[in-house]
Amino acid sequence: MDLLVNPTESSLLRFTTAGSVDDGKSTLIGRLLYDSKSIFEDQLLAVEESSKRRGDAHVNLALLTDGLRAEREQGITIDVAYRYFATPKRKFIIADTPGHIQYTRNMVTGASTADLAIILIDARLGVIEQTMRHTYLASLLRIGHIVLAVNKMDLVNFDQAVYDKIVADYMKFASGLENLPNVTPIPMSALNGDNVVEKSDATPWYTGPSLLQHLETVQVHTETAADAARFPVQWVIRPISDRNDAKLGNLHDYRGFAGRMASGTFRVGDDVLVYPSEMKTKITGIHTFEGPQPEAIPQLSYSITVADEIDTSRGGMIVKSNEPVQTAQEFDAMICWFADKKTLKPRGRFHLRHTTNDVRAVVTEVHYKVNISTLEKSAESKEFALNDIGCIRVRCATPIFFDAYSQNRTTGSFVLVDEQTNNTVAAGMIMKSLGNPDDFEDAGSAI
């Protein structure tokens, strides 16, 4: 394989892997890294040596990712490990997360930045409780694409009937979910490499792509450019200088709002609303170090200037004037609780971090918790322990500017920070606002 990524064409895909212990996750990742020549000799040598010292029967590729002393000593993955590999078409970032239920928080963390999830199934065992749990988490975090990797097909004689039944079982379960991602099932053997990089002769009945072909070509970001334009302000650039800049002219009055385009696009001349004041103005400049740009596109960073002197700073947001964002002090959200030494109870107080904002917040109600193995909702217990997922109501000291998480992963997400320890104790996804007559799903058409 040619190793050189073409830097002018290659895009980025971020994915996460899920599956229960022994489904073949490490073997699959090892194979992708190995076949794309992303494992180096000294890494392989070091892994061989430690495998030998530990008395492992074969070279344990998990040692490549399990880097912390505690992980190596206990032979388990504790934390999210990020791995990198590239083909000429694309660069990949893998979030390798431990699959066990006690590591739900790590899965949620890995999933929060993933465009795609690979969910492994052992073909001998079929769809099990873990498969459903991982699929639920992927859909909760709004990962748009799932690859259902039906692995160890060599152990069921590459039997199409076995595969078809697993896929049918899975689709039956998955179609009951609220936001079903695109599902691409692939029969494979991670150990032998069938349908991992190359299409396999052992599955002539399978007409789809190999895993790598799929990863190289799947379209994941097409939606964000069409979404409502959202530009959270990180920092205000004020050179405070009378210098003449070659690209921008005299800098005396320069005042640029620095940030990253979360979604949608801006063009110079667009009518915009600037939060928190909700004042109307026009975009006069979209700047990068390279000079003035005609438009701002999703995921890229800019400094934006506007026509009027408008008071906004970190925590503010710029949007198009015909696409206002929700503003509210109180809202309902799904959360995953991350702390192991503390629980979440009604009346709990936190710092809430949302886009570039940081406000005081209190949990006013616990609506329900979800049993993530059965997907049943229960209001019996009002207390969240480590890894618990459920729906709460939050009230902030001042209004925040947001969209529903289902509409926008950046402006719909937040974390809760413990007031004493400063630790990040919960991940939150905003469902709907209160104290606002319109459900935000209708927000766009309400104006």
């Binding site: 290659s10 000294d42 990020y82 990198y84 921008l248 974390v415 400063n422 991940a427």
Partner: protein, 308 residues
């Protein structure tokens, strides 16, 4: 709309992290070693705050074991991007009795840097230090956060790291604690080189092929003939090693403390040559560093103490 390239994504992500650092901390500093990663990081910082000057200083922890080319480059670069430089000196830490020089012909000042770094952080009251560490470099780094918390002793607790979700980075801290921030976390060595090529970033000559007097020690190619500021050889030779010194055509894949930075035999004399060489390389760049070879978890152990 076509998707952005992976280099555009990485650049924008790093700029986002740099701006978050400026916004969330009172007095950040950017750790500048003169190596390619810190050069790329400083380059990105200039972009992040343009047309302003950098809202923080560059901090160089000087081990006194320098390649002269790296020092010349450092002073030129700092001027070029219009930044201010603070230097923390390991030699001064030794003279002040804060640390003891390691003994023996294999001695290195790598570990001593940690004390100098922490002392300099304390002296200047820096509350966040931007580092050029990448997760693909080393297995302990693979678990490091973008915003990595340090307690009041400057230590890292790998088992008690804050989860990082979406684009939300939590820099809240108690008095006396600080953060290390790694804007290049998601970059690989190849990304760094492709970006240097795309941006035409000038580099210290050490990265390109040249002739040099070399001694091979424990499989490492070390540069001979360099002295510290007192005129003592940085790599003292054993008598039996002296006949083995030879001129070789080499370059450096990383540039750090001269006592433990190994060279590779190479004729790569342009960025294009280097990109091709990195693509074909079968060793990680860390494979050339003696400091990581001391034990399996050498990096994790140093990081816990407060290392970069």
């Amino acid at each position: 709309m076509s998707a952005i390239t992976h280099l555009q994504f990485l650049e924008s992500e790093a700029i986002y992290i740099l701006r978050e650092t400026a916004a969330q901390f009172e007095k950040p500093a950017l750790l500048f070693s003169g190596g390619k990663d810190s050069i790329v990081m400083a380059w990105l910082a200039r972009k992040a705050f343009y047309p302003s000057r950098l809202p923080f200083k560059l901090l160089h922890v000087d081990t006194g074991h320098n390649f002269p080319e790296a020092m010349t480059y450092r002073d030129w670069f700092v001027q070029e991007i219009g930044a201010d430089l603070v230097v923390g000196s390991v030699q001064k830490s030794i003279d002040d009795g804060r640390v003891q020089e390691e003994k023996g012909h294999n001695a290195s000042r790598n570990k001593l840097q940690t004390v100098t770094l922490l002392d300099t952080i304390e002296e200047h009251q820096f509350d966040a230090c931007l580092g050029g560490g990448r997760r693909d470099e080393e297995k302990a780094r693979a678990k490091e956060r973008f915003f990595s918390h340090r307690n009041e002793f400057g230590q890292w607790d790998p088992k008690n790291q804050r989860p990082e979700l979406w684009n939300i980075f939590n820099g809240r801290k108690h008095f006396g604690e600080h953060f290390r921030v790694f804007p290049l976390s998601n970059w690989t060595e190849m990304d760094i080189w492709q970006y240097i090529r795309q941006e035409n970033i000038p580099l210290p000559s050490l990265y390109f092929s040249h002739k040099r007097q070399i001694i091979e020690r424990h499989g490492q190619l070390l540069a001979v003939g360099l002295n510290d500021e007192r005129g003592n050889p940085i790599i003292p030779l054993l008598d039996e090693e002296k006949p083995r010194v030879k001129e070789m055509v080499i370059r450096f894949r990383t540039v750090g403390d001269a006592s433990c930075t190994g060279a590779v035999e190479s004729t790569a004399s342009t960025i294009d040559d280097i990109v091709a060489e990195v693509a074909a390389a079968r060793q990680t760049e860390r494979g050339t560093r003696a400091d990581d070879k001391r034990s399996e978890t050498a990096m994790e152990d140093r990081k816990k103490e407060g290392y970069f």
